[in-house]
C-alpha cells in the first residue's frame, strides 16, 4: 500500500537469529494471568470487610477454579466466570433493592464481579473457532455482555452512590419511565420519525439522486457541483433550521425541509461518483454492443453505482435523525422527540430525556440496520459482501 516502510533503511535486527519469538498481536499477557487470582483476592477481602459472605467466597473460589480451568478449556473458564459475575451482579442489585446501604465490602464485591466479567470477555475474545456459526455467536455475545455490564455498573454506581436523579438516573428508573410513557414516546416518534425524518429523507435522497442523473451528461456541471457538494457536507447545515421554521411553520414540514437539505448533497456527490465507477473496459463492452445511453445507464452504470448510493443512504439515515431532532430545538408544536428532549431537560426530568434518547437510538439503529440489510440483498455481488 505504501512505500514509507520499505524506504526505511531496513537493517535486519541481530536478535532475529537469536531465536527471539516473533511478536504476535494479542499475545497471552501477564495481565491476563493476574486478573483471575487478583479477583479472588479482592473477593476474599470483600467478605472480610463486611460484604456478603456468600458472594465473596463464591467469587473467590470461582476465580481460582477458572484460573485452573484456563489452561484446560477457555470456553468453560469463560462460562463459569460469566455466570458467576452476572449472578453476583444480580445479588448486589438485590442488596440495593433491599435498602441496605453499601459499605466498602459491597464496593469491593462490585469491583471483583466486574473484574471477573472482564476476564470472561477476555477469554471469549481469545477463543478461535473455525465454525462460522460459533464465531458469529461470539461476535454478538461479547459486545452484548460488555453492554450488559455497562448497564450493571451504571445501575450499581448511580444507586449505590445516591447520584441525584437530575444528574444521571439509573437504568431501572429510565426503563420504568419508558414503560410508563409509551404513549407520549409513540406520539413523539410518529411526529419526528414517521413524518419529518422519513418524508424528508425520501425527498432529499430522491432529489439528490435525480439531480445526479440529470447532470450526468454534463461533465461541466459535475465538475462545478462536486466540489460544492463536498464542501456543503462539511458545513453546519442544521443551522438552516430557524429559517425553515420561519418558512414552513412549526409543524413537521419545516423539519422535513431541514432533512431534505441535509441529505441532498451526500446523495448527489455519491451518486455522481458511483455513476463514474464502471471500468473503462465495461464502457467499451457496452460500446461494442452499440448500446444506447439509457441502456448502458440501466444495465451497467446504475448497478455499478449501487454501493455508492447505499453509502449515501446510510450516511443520510443518521443525518436525517440529527436534522429532525435538532430542528425541533428551534420551535415545534408540543410533540416530537427534539421538543420533548429540550422541554424535559428544562424541567429537569432527566429520566424522560433518557427514555427519549433510547427511542432515538433504537429508531436510528433500526433505520440504519434496515438500509444495511437491503444493501446486502441488492449488492450481494460486491466484493465487500461476498462471503
Amino acid at each position: 500500500m505504501n512505500d514509507s516502510t520499505t524506504r526505511e533503511p531496513s537493517v535486519p535486527v541481530a536478535s532475529a537469529a537469536g531465536g527471539a519469538d516473533v511478536p504476535k498481536a494479542y499475545r497471552y499477557r501477564s495481565m491476563e494471568r493476574l486478573l483471575l487470582p487478583g479477583t479472588s483476592a479482592v473477593a476474599l477481602v470483600s467478605a472480610l470487610m463486611g460484604g456478603s459472605l456468600v458472594v465473596g467466597m463464591g467469587l473467590a473460589i470461582i476465580g481460582l477454579l477458572a484460573f485452573w480451568l484456563l489452561t484446560h478449556s477457555r470456553l468453560s473458564a469463560a462460562l463459569i466466570t460469566g455466570y458467576a459475575s452476572t449472578a453476583a451482579a444480580w445479588f448486589l442489585i438485590g442488596e440495593l433493592d433491599a435498602g441496605n446501604s453499601p459499605g466498602p465490602g459491597f464496593w469491593l464485591q462490585v469491583v471483583a464481579a466486574w473484574a471477573m466479567a472482564w476476564a470472561c470477555v477476555e477469554q471469549l475474545a481469545a477463543i478461535n473457532t473455525l465454525s462460522r456459526f460459533y464465531q458469529l455467536l461470539l461476535n454478538i455475545l461479547i459486545p452484548l455482555l460488555f453492554g450488559l455490564w455497562l448497564l450493571i455498573l451504571w445501575e450499581l454506581l448511580t444507586r449505590g452512590l445516591n447520584v441525584p436523579q437530575v444528574l444521571l438516573p439509573s437504568p431501572s428508573l429510565i426503563a420504568e419511565r419508558f414503560t410508563e410513557s409509551t404513549s407520549i414516546l409513540w406520539a413523539d416518534f410518529q411526529q419526528t420519525f414517521l413524518k419529518a425524518v422519513l418524508i424528508g429523507y425520501a425527498l432529499g435522497c430522491g432529489s439528490g439522486f435525480l439531480v445526479a442523473v440529470l447532470i450526468d451528461r454534463s461533465p461541466f456541471l459535475q465538475r462545478g457541483l462536486l466540489p460544492i457538494g463536498n464542501l456543503v457536507s462539511a458545513l453546519p447545515i442544521v443551522g438552516v433550521a430557524p429559517i425553515m421554521v420561519m418558512w414552513f411553520g412549526f409543524d413537521w414540514p419545516s423539519k422535513a425541509a431541514v432533512v431534505v437539505i441535509m441529505t441532498f448533497f451526500p446523495m448527489l456527490v455519491n451518486t455522481v461518483a458511483g455513476l463514474s465507477a464502471a471500468q473503462p473496459m465495461q464502457h467499451d463492452l457496452m460500446k461494442t454492443y452499440a448500446a444506447s445511453y439509457w441502456q448502458s445507464l440501466f444495465k451497467l452504470r446504475l448497478p455499478e453505482a449501487l454501493p455508492f448510493i447505499f453509502n449515501a443512504l446510510k450516511i443520510n439515515s443518521t443525518l436525517a435523525m440529527i436534522g429532525a431532532i435538532v430542528a425541533e430545538f428551534f420551535g415545534t408544536p408540543t410533540v416530537g422527540m427534539g421538543f420533548r428532549i429540550s422541554t424535559e431537560v428544562g424541567r429537569m426530568n432527566v429520566d424522560m430525556v433518557w427514555a427519549e434518547i433510547a427511542v432515538a437510538a433504537l429508531a436510528g439503529s433500526l433505520f440504519y440496520g434496515a438500509i444495511a440489510l437491503t444493501e446486502r440483498m441488492l449488492t450481494f455481488w460486491h466484493p465487500s459482501n461476498r462471503s
Partner: protein, 272 residues
C-alpha cells in the same frame, strides 16, 4: 490509386480492409505514433493473430477495427462498412483481456446482456444463451455468479457472450493472457474447434509466439515506435490441428520465423 484498387478488388471476400492507416495520440510530450501506415487485408474465414511487444499497437489496431478508437489517417472498412457503421450493425463480437462479466448478473444473464440490448425476445435469448454456453462447455453453470467461477471459466463465459451476438467476426484482445498455461492450452484447443465448426473470421491479439502459431492461419508481426506491421506470415499448417502439432518441425520453423521477425523489429535498449 492503390487504395481504390485494393478496396474495389477485394470487397467481395474481404472482411477487413485496412489501407495506409495511422493513428496519432497527442500528449503533453508531443505526438505518439501508435499506428503508422498499416495495410492489411483479412478474408472471410481467416484466423489472424497480431503479435508484437507491448507498445507495438496491436491492441490499438484491434480497437480501431472495433471502433473503440478512431484512426487519424488512412482508410478502414469492416464488412464493406466504416467501423462505426459495422459496430452499429453489431457486426462483431469482442472479447477483452479480462472477462468483464457483470458481478450482479448470473452467467446466463451475462451472456444474455448483448441480446437484451439488441432487443431480442426472451425466447430467442434463452435459446441462444443455452446454445452458446453449450458451445464453450459451460452448461450447468447458468445460475452461478461470475465470481463463483474460475478465471478460465469466466473467460469462456465472456467468449460465449461474444458469440451470442452471432457475429461473423470475432475480435479477441489477449483473451487468455491472465490465465495459467494449462488452462490456456485447453482454451486454445477449444477455440480452434469452435473456429473450425463455425467458419468465423477471428482476429486475435497475443504476445505469445506458440499461441499465435498454434491458432492462426496468418500471423501479423508488429513492431513499436511507431507501431507498424513488420511482417505478415501465412501459416502452412493444416487447418485441423491439435496441441501435439507444436512438436513438429513445421511448427518450430514457423515459430522461429515469427521470433526472428519480432527480434528484427524490436530494439532492446528502448524500454516500453
Amino acid at each position: 490509386m492503390y487504395e481504390a484498387l485494393t478496396t474495389q478488388e477485394n470487397q467481395a471476400s474481404a472482411v477487413i480492409d485496412i489501407a495506409q492507416l495511422s493513428l496519432t495520440f497527442p500528449t503533453s510530450d508531443g505526438d505518439v505514433h501508435a499506428l503508422s501506415d498499416i495495410n492489411l487485408l483479412i478474408n472471410q474465414g481467416d484466423f489472424v493473430s497480431f503479435i508484437g511487444p507491448s507498445g507495438c499497437g496491436k491492441t490499438t489496431l484491434l480497437r480501431v477495427i472495433a471502433d473503440l478508437e478512431r484512426a487519424t489517417a488512412g482508410s478502414i472498412q469492416v464488412n464493406g462498412l466504416s467501423p462505426a457503421e459495422a459496430r452499429l450493425a453489431r457486426a462483431y463480437g469482442y472479447v477483452f483481456q479480462a472477462a468483464a462479466l457483470y458481478p450482479w448478473r448470473t452467467i446466463a444473464r451475462n451472456v444474455a446482456l448483448p441480446l437484451e440490448i439488441m432487443g431480442l425476445n426472451s425466447r430467442d435469448i434463452e435459446q441462444r444463451v443455452r446454445h452458446n454456453l453449450e458451445l464453450v462447455n459451460l452448461s450447468g453453470f447458468e445460475k452461478k455468479y461470475p465470481w463463483q467461477l474460475s478465471g478460465g471459466m469466466q473467460q469462456r463465459a465472456s467468449i460465449a457472450r461474444a458469440l451470442a451476438v452471432e457475429p461473423d467476426l470475432l475480435l479477441m484482445d489477449e483473451p487468455f493472457g491472465a490465465l495459467d498455461e494449462i488452462v490456456r492450452d485447453h482454451l486454445n484447443e477449444q477455440l480452434l474447434q469452435l473456429w473450425a465448426k463455425t467458419n468465423k473470421t477471428v482476429v486475435f491479439v497475443t504476445h505469445s509466439i506458440p499461441e499465435a502459431v498454434y491458432l492462426s492461419s496468418r500471423i501479423v508481426v508488429m513492431s513499436p515506435r511507431p507501431g507498424r506491421i513488420h511482417d505478415i506470415i501465412d501459416s502452412d499448417l493444416p487447418r485441423e490441428r491439435d496441441l501435439s502439432i507444436r512438436e513438429t518441425p513445421e511448427f518450430l520453423a514457423l515459430a522461429n520465423r515469427v521470433r526472428d521477425g519480432l527480434r528484427a523489429g524490436h530494439s532492446y535498449d528502448e524500454v516500453a
